[in-house]
Amino acid sequence: MTKIPSLLWLCGLLLTGSAFAADWKMDPAGSKLEFVATFEKTPAPGEFKEFDARLRFDPDKPAGGSLDVTIKITSADMNIPDVNKEIRGKDWFDYAGFPQAEFHSTDLRRDGKRYVARGTLTLKGVKQPVEVPFSWTASADGAVMEGELLLSRGAFGIGLGEWKATDTIGPDVKVKFKVKLRKG
């Protein structure tokens, strides 16, 4: 007899915590995670072909939602065979040591017409606080979140040794994402 009220109480707690935040799953076909490094002051684009995002989110009440992203670092493709070979190594992404990167939000908030997910990015074994701004476009069959942020490659030890120098390969990397989501 005591089990039912306590379950109800638990449900109520979860509901108040998440309001009407829905669970969203990523549709990989409509999603893209790109990064743009600079080489001799010229954009050098790349892409992580495999990644997954899970979102609990209510656009009207972003607080209480969460964003969790896993990125298969070994799926990086910079469109240049020699570069793709090079970035596997310890000086760059270190595929063997750190095949996966993760982002876990600690809070979501509105910022004007947009939203910001604040959290921790773990990349190449380095944890850094990161803010991920994004726009939200709802559609009949789901929603699309899009945004970009600037990361400093040095903060994550990407480009070690003589590659730490930023005159040939620039210090900043722009990360761009478009995530197609379905309720689920």
């Binding site: 080489f39 001799e40 002051k41 010229t42 954009p43 050098a44 684009p45 469109n79 240049i80 065979p81 020699d82 090079e86 003589e162 590659w163 120098a165 005159d167 040939t168 390969i169």
Partner: protein, 216 residues
């Protein structure tokens, strides 16, 4: 005080007058008019400037290319390639201007007394030099396009791709580029050797008429 300026003006008019009248003029006026345009026995200043600027660029370019190709993978290697590619595109632009200037001007005659085969070899050598001054930058451009490396000439002008990204194409054309560079080194050696042979053995003006500080 003003006389040199007036004198220069006279020579300049003299140059114009010569074209119309086709008559006689003083040695001094010929000196000034031939500063710019080539004649049948001398190179004008623009032709000399093209020759020596491109000579310096091509020698630097060969050194950059050899170093870039053989350097271990490092920021220095990327820098070397960056300067090699930028210089290559500069050479391609200059050779286009140089060819226009050459086509618009007479070419000084080869000295009399050269054997037919020597004349043929000289013409062929210069033809090959011009062909390589075009073919080397163009094959380099193809390699850059096929290997899909983003590149701005001297950080400024984005270089458009002339072929689609394709690794086998990049590898193949890089081989051709290297082969052409080796051919260039051979023809340059013959070019320099030929100039020295004309100067020291034949004792003619083939070398001196290209020197910037001499005007035959």
């Amino acid at each position: 005080m003003c006389s040199p300026i007036i004198a220069k003006g006279d020579h300049f008019l003299g140059a114009r007058g010569r074209g119309a009248a086709g008559g006689h003029e003083s040695a001094a006026s010929r000196y000034h008019t031939e500063m710019l345009r080539n004649t049948v026995d001398s190179w004008g200043a623009p032709a000399k400037l093209f020759h020596w600027v491109m000579a310096a660029l091509i020698l630097a370019q060969i050194a950059l290319g050899v170093m870039a190709a053989n350097w271990r993978v490092s920021p220095a290697k990327l820098e070397l390639f960056f300067w090699h590619k930028s210089t290559g595109m500069l050479i391609l632009a200059l050779v286009a201007l140089r060819l226009l200037w050459r086509l618009a001007n007479p070419v000084p005659l080869l000295p009399s007394g050269m054997a037919a085969w020597e004349r043929a070899a000289a013409r062929l050598g210069h033809l090959v030099l011009y062909a390589l001054m075009i073919a080397l930058p163009v094959t380099g451009w193809i390699v850059n396009s096929a290997s899909n490396v983003p590149f701005r000439i001297f950080w400024l002008v984005p270089l458009p791709a002339i072929v689609a990204p394709d690794e086998p194409t990049a590898d193949l054309v890089a081989e051709v580029h290297g082969g052409l560079a080796a051919l260039l080194a051979l023809v340059l050696a013959a070019h320099i050797g030929g100039a020295l042979w004309h100067h020291y053995v034949k004792r003619d003006t083939v070398l001196t008429r290209m020197l910037p500080w001499r005007t035959p």
